[in-house]
């Protein structure tokens, strides 16, 4: 939501920079070239007078499709135009040129500033975009088409036609045809409207769809109505892919977050059998560690701000792991084998940790900024943008998963952890320091929670009750995946994430959540041991 806003303003800023630079080159070209078709009289009419008159004059000049208008319109937008006696002057750096001819001129003493109201500004901006359609630079033309897409009227049609004829690039030409159709669909001629609807059916942008839907409502002619309906169906078909992929991506993204949250639990609960209700608070500690690192970078190393996340990841891991180790030593180790008591004690811990953070950092949410390379995203389809921070978390989750699988599967520590889980007494007999392994395993789980918190700080709010929202979901993942199963945890996390988002599209967020919970309750009827049950004959765990 705010991300897309950020993205938009970012795009706008780049576009602006692009156009200004290109305009300068354009200006050079124009001044060196032929005589200007814009007459002084026309320029004067655009610059001064009644708003309606000015808009009319502007549209007339635009319709002539003259490149020479560009510097003048730009100057108007930059408020560098003055008028005197029906003539317009561009005043830049103290020197005045006559707007129509581009010749140096002495500014009359009675020259007045041109004031543009909002309507005029809008018209000027649109005119600017239309003028850019005939720019020699392909990138400028593409940008102009994109800018015009959502905001054109029939006054600009002649120039769009002209641009479409002159256009050599086939992709841009197709876009111009669509643009033309978008204008024509509002035409008063029914045949033109039908033609436009047909042309628009090749589009695949959400704006086209909303335009068509809008027109469908106001259309009276049944033939045109049918044509528009057909076009809508066709656009819908092309948009559907983007939407489907979008749901898939948000589902995978939620799944990756759930996976990060659940991986820590897979160790503490899955392997060690400790119900840790404070898991969410360990995540919160990781997120706050990220916040602290971010602030330190802001104050002492503002130049390296983009790299703060590299430092924040290990710091978040270590902070949470240390807190976890302390908890294990002081509380949890006395409660092994008493899961219900562990549940209550760790709930108490979570309350203390939350209040502790509130005392230290205040009850308000704190702001964690994305590094600049994490903001923005890839535009895959017209209606599908993949934000970089979500992609980064997907990759991060995969890396943490791989790291953990290696640690548990291939290292000596992992061997000990598995050994203690499977048969504590036998492990102790062959010389494993089980108490130490318990502590290490628990702090590993806590550290991974810290990593999850670090990741969460990049996509959501960071506040004292950050962990509360995830605790139910993450336990569901572990329960669904089956105790002691990494593969089950992965599948359950991704599956739940996807299912949540798919159902959200159908039934809304709250009902989706309820449906997922009902599904889990029903699922456990069939497979009480989760997705991947440990095979064996033990009657009871």
């Amino acid at each position: 939501m705010c991300l897309s806003g950020l993205w938009k303003s970012c795009v706008k800023a780049t576009l602006h920079r692009l156009t200004v630079g290109l305009l300068l080159t354009l200006l050079m070209g124009v001044f060196g070239q032929q005589a200007l078709a814009l007459t002084p009289e026309q320029a004067g009419r655009i610059a001064a007078g009644d708003s309606d008159e000015r808009v009319k004059a502007l549209n007339e000049s635009v319709a002539q499709g003259d490149v020479a208008l560009t510097p003048f319109v730009q100057a108007m937008l930059d408020e560098q135009v003055k008028t005197a006696g029906g003539k317009a002057f561009i005043v830049k750096d103290g020197a005045a040129v006559e707007a129509a001819t581009g010749q140096k001129a002495a500014l009359p003493a009675d020259a007045e500033d041109v004031v543009n109201n909002n309507r005029m500004r809008r018209e000027l901006e649109a005119a600017m975009a239309v003028l850019k359609l005939v720019s020699p630079d392909r990138a400028v033309r593409a940008a102009a088409i994109a800018e015009l897409k959502d905001d054109v009227d029939e006054g600009k049609l002649p120039l769009i036609d002209k641009a479409a004829q002159a256009e050599t690039d086939p992709a841009l030409k197709a876009k111009l045809v669509l643009l033309r159709a978008a204008v024509l669909i509002s035409s008063s001629d029914a045949a033109k409207r039908i033609e436009a609807a047909k042309a628009l059916s090749g589009s695949s942008s959400p704006a086209t769809r909303s335009l068509l839907l809008d027109k469908l409502g106001s259309e009276a002619d049944p033939n045109v109505k049918a044509a528009i309906q057909g076009a809508i169906d066709s656009v819908q078909g092309q948009l559907a892919w983007g939407e489907r992929l979008g749901v898939l991506f948000t589902g995978a993204s939620l799944g990756s977050i759930l996976l990060l949250v659940a991986l820590g639990l897979a160790i503490t609960y899955g392997l060690m059998g400790v119900i840790n209700m404070a898991h969410g608070e360990l995540m919160m500690i990781g997120a706050y560690a990220t916040y602290v690192v971010q602030n330190l970078f802001k104050h002492y190393l503002p130049g390296a701000f983009d790299a703060y996340i590299v430092v924040a990841i290990p710091v978040a891991f270590l902070t949470s792991a240390l807190v976890g180790a302390a908890l294990e030593r002081t509380v949890i180790r006395w409660l092994y084998g008493r899961p219900l008591e562990t549940l209550l004690a760790t709930w108490g811990i979570s309350l203390v940790l939350m209040q502790g953070v509130r005392s230290l950092f205040g009850a308000q949410n704190v702001g964690v900024e994305n590094a600049s390379w994490m903001s923005g995203g890839i535009q895959v389809l017209p209606n599908l943008v993949l934000p970089y921070n979500r992609l980064a978390i997907l990759v991060f989750a995969a890396l943490v998963l791989a790291g953990m699988a290696l640690l548990i599967g291939k290292t000596r520590l992992g061997l000990f952890v598995r050994g203690v889980t499977q048969n504590r007494r036998m492990a102790a007999c062959v010389g494993v320091n089980t108490a130490r392994i318990d502590m290490l395993a628990f702090s590993l789980g806590a550290g991974i929670a810290g990593l999850a918190g670090c990741a969460l700080s990049q996509v959501g709010n960071v506040g004292p009750d950050l962990g509360q929202g995830y605790i139910v979901d993450s336990f569901m993942v572990v329960v669904l995946g089956g105790v002691g199963q990494l593969a089950g945890t992965v599948l359950a996390a991704l599956g739940l994430g996807l299912m949540n988002k798919l159902l959200e599209g159908l039934a809304g967020a709250v009902l989706a959540k309820i449906m997922v919970l009902v599904f889990i309750v029903v699922f456990i009827q069939k497979r009480p041991q989760g997705l991947f049950a440990v095979k064996g004959r033990s009657a009871e765990a």
Binding site: L344, W347, V352, Q355, G356, I471, V472, Q525
Partner: protein, 364 residues
């Protein structure tokens, strides 16, 4: 355990010993005669009546929790839901009793006018009748518990699995009740009640009446619970708690036993909720938050599990501490509560009652 079993054997037949009955009589006397008189004389303020009445409701919840957790070994984190459902049942009736005295002077409750609804949703069909609505207070949570419990116990979900699933259920219900479309006032819930059975709510007389009713309900439920745990049914429950597999091997099907006590416990909570709402004057979805349900468990744990009287003491102790802390040191309340959770599980597995027992045994 053997000496406890022998004591249990002695107690059968007689529900309570002579001392026990005296204590019950004294409790009833205090609740029904002494406190109302003190209130009339001005020594027991209206605020204290309301606070104590509220805690009495919590004590009923703790008692219900003791039956299911202390005696059957099933830790429910969903009792807050049953409590809230009972409260909502009562709240709906009270909302209808407002009549046209709301801010919008409409026949419909204010929040419906605000949402521009023209008629009552079907869920409110019985809300005009006190008797029918009170039946719903029992039936809705009871049925929910029956269905949920049947599915859960049938597939032998137990231990922490059951706790987590009940928590998820409560969480889902909270999300549902937060929505305006659900038709129960969204996140504001119900408030601004005016009267009950045609009588105004905000009078000292009504307050003390509700207080007495709540107190008598608590004593009644205590006797009922005492009777249950001393009966054969109650002993099967305790056997299920201690060794469920063995109970099955001796030919019992624990399903019916667990289901029965689960539903009873849920209904007790719902009744507590229904008594709570007119005294406190508000009900909203925050009663269904996971924290609220876990707190019920801590009341039982602090007082002492499987003692029946312990959870009642625990409810008074924790909530008394809460109302003192939140006034005197608001920022330390969560430290205290969290510390209590940890301390009780680590050092006081038998709770306050166990502490007293230990002390008296040492003296003897």
């Amino acid at each position: 355990m053997t000496s406890a079993a022998m004591k249990l054997e002695q107690k059968r037949g007689l529900l309570l010993g002579p001392k026990g009955w005296t204590a019950v009589a004294i409790a009833l006397g205090v609740i029904c005669v002494l406190l109302p008189l003190l209130n009339k004389a001005g020594y027991f303020s209206d605020y204290a009546v309301q606070l104590t009445g509220k805690i009495l409701c919590y004590a009923i919840c703790a008692l219900a929790m003791d039956l299911i957790w202390g005696y059957t070994g099933i830790l429910s984190l969903g009792h807050g839901l049953f409590f809230a459902l009972g409260g909502y049942g009562m709240g709906m009736y009270l909302m209808r009793q407002i009549g046209r005295d709301g801010n919008y002077q409409s026949d419909l409750p204010d929040f419906m006018v605000f949402l521009n609804w023209k008629q009552l949703p079907w869920t409110w069909a019985l809300s005009d009748s006190f008797a029918a609505q009170m039946a719903l207070v029992v039936l809705v949570p009871g049925l929910l518990a029956l269905v949920f419990g049947w599915f859960a116990f049938r597939s032998r979900i137990k231990g922490v699995y059951f706790s987590i699933i009940t928590q998820a259920m409560t969480f889902a219900a909270m999300l549902l009740f937060f929505r305006n479309e659900t038709g129960f006032g969204g996140n504001n819930g119900f408030t601004d009640f005016k009267r009950i059975l045609g009588m105004p709510l905000a009078t000292p007389g009504m307050r003390i009446t509700l207080f007495v009713i709540t107190g008598c309900t608590l004593v009644g439920f205590y006797l009922l619970a005492r009777w249950i745990v001393n009966s054969k049914f109650g002993r099967v429950l305790q056997a299920v708690r201690d060794a469920e597999t063995r109970v099955m091997f001796t030919g019992y099907n624990p399903l019916a036993y667990k289901l029965a006590i689960w539903v009873l416990s849920a209904v007790m909570c719902a009744i507590a909720g229904a008594l709570y709402v007119p005294q406190v004057g508000i009900i909203n979805p925050s009663e269904m938050s996971p924290a609220a349900s876990i707190e019920i468990a801590i009341w039982a744990a602090v007082g002492g599990r499987a003692t029946l009287i312990g959870p009642i003491i625990g409810a008074f102790f924790v909530n008394g501490a809460k109302s003192w802390f939140t006034v005197a040191f608001p920022e330390f309340w969560l430290y205290f509560l969290g510390g209590l959770f940890i301390a009780v599980t680590l050092f006081l597995p038998q709770g306050i009652v166990g502490l007293f027992k230990r002390v008296s045994e040492k003296r003897a």
